[in-house]
Amino acid sequence: MIDDDVLMERTARNEEAAFRLLVQRWEKEVLAFLIHMLGSMEEAEDLVQDTFVKVYHQAGRYRPEGKFKSWLFRIAGNLARSRLRRRKILRWVRFDRTEHDQADVGPSPQQRLEEKESAGAIQKALDGLPDRQRQALLMHRFQGMKYREIADVMDTTVPGVESLIQRSLVGLRAELAGKVELS
């Protein structure tokens, strides 16, 4: 298998086939990460595209040090957090009274049913985490990245990552207790 760094060098030289291989190699993993970050397939697909467009445009600045995955997920993570920030601002600007009223009376029967589905409940619990905690947890538990790699991606230290993941687990334990049959 051709190394990611080699493919990036060739992408920087404008070789379409090399870039295509990179996209096809990583798109599924980036998509899974973004789905859990954003809780939306549609938005995740948009951002996967944005991620790879950015990879292409910044290929000339990539340093081939064997850290392509970290670099790729740094781009995807930054785009996701930026999207989440925008979403929060929009939610604040477009305050929806109907939605707010519904929230007051609790979830609908349909929503209750969906919440019983463990996948839905897990995603909901993930959605409730602060963005950086969710990003660190997903990179570790879903993408299999080591604390050191996550620290690189998130511009923090290994103890910083440890703290983020520890707090995320405390949050998830509280949120999932009684909702999901924990394995």
Binding site: A119, Y147, L182
Partner: protein, 155 residues
Amino acid sequence: MKHVTERIHAWLAGELDPVSATDLEQHLEQCPDCARVARESRAVWETLGSAAAEDEQLSSPSLWPRVRARTFGEQTGGSWFYGPSSVVRAGLASAAVAAGLVFAVMLPGEGLNGDQNSSDQQVETLWLEDSSWTSADQDYGLDRMWLSAGLDTEG
């Protein structure tokens, strides 16, 4: 006894060195509070692991055509002008401007075979001077375009 709850996740994640992991395991054998947190944390950890395993079933999104359209496609599928290199674009622009100049000089006269008389030359000069796109008080950015194409508009 110092509780170890803040390190349980790192233990679950396999991020503790062997000595720290053994210390923690010994503590869990003696501390029911930490042992309970460890059990609950492990349950959440494994549930997340199952969810992560479900991601494996995710079908490949096949995003290449859309990504290509926004990268290589922009170079080849858009305007003919937007070739792969800015050098090529500058060359094309220079050639187009040069051809335009030759055409402009030839147009009012009799062509290549004709003898240009002085009135033709005057008309030509006036036309160039009066044209809005060369007037000094109306900047349509043409001067900048010429400069970027390597031509000196100052003559």
